[in-house]
């Protein structure tokens, strides 16, 4: 009875609470999918010799959710067999070793979900309006993704 409701779904969430790998992977599990691929972005404790105390994330939330929806739409065009997509990003303070982002994709066979997960994180880093501040012992730094789509563009 429930199987007829197993239509492809996108699960997008920006939240300040700790992210859960179990929760995100369970969202995308599907009876006719043999593969769930996962990416977890975690917080490193150092940058250029400086000790990172924690990260802080902020977002243009409404636009970030829209940009993530566009990523999901693009994934389904490029890999039509992809079933469910989940992209959860944490906002606010993220302690060292905790996850900032978890992406999970299910598909019947593994190639599509593995490729789609990579596309999701690469495109998120290029297009989604979320900002990370690294807090060190004596200072802080707003990070800039090298993937940022307008980086180095001539104005």
């Amino acid at each position: 009875m429930g199987e007829s409701e197993d239509v492809p779904k996108d699960f997008i969430k920006l939240k300040s609470e700790k992210l859960s790998v179990d929760e995100v992977s369970e969202l995308v599990i599907s009876p006719n999918c043999g593969a769930v691929s996962l990416f977890i972005g975690t917080t490193r404790n150092n940058f250029e010799g400086k000790k990172v105390i924690h990260l802080e994330y902020e977002a243009y939330t409404s636009m970030a959710e829209m940009e993530i929806k566009k990523i999901c739409r693009d994934v389904r065009q490029k890999w039509p067999s992809v079933k469910h997509i989940a992209m959860h990003h944490r906002l606010g303070v993220v302690p060292i070793t905790e996850a900032s982002v978890i992406i999970a994709v299910s598909s019947p066979h593994r190639t599509e979900s593995l490729e789609a997960v990579m596309y999701c994180i690469n495109t998120l880093k290029a297009f989604v309006p979320i900002w990370k501040k690294e807090i060190y012992e004596d200072e802080y730094s707003w990070k800039e993704n090298k993937e940022c789509f307008w980086a180095n563009s001539e104005k």
Partner: protein
Amino acid sequence: MRCQVTVLYFARSAELAGLRSESVSVPQRLTSLQLWEEIVKIHPRLAVIQDQVIFAVQQEYVLLGDQLLVLQTGDEVAIIPPISGG
């Protein structure tokens, strides 16, 4: 003709401007670079990030440059410093 848009500031631009959002009167028709210049008149400290930022107008990205914008009262204009999600 002018209109009243909501300007949103994020990350470094919020620190430089000292606030996260405000209502600003701007011409209805102007280039994206002219819009930037209007905002820098109000918050001169933003000038230091001119080469790094772009806009999001009604949640569509717009580079700073010659692109002609047609704005309406209530439109949302966000200053977007280089992003670092993920």
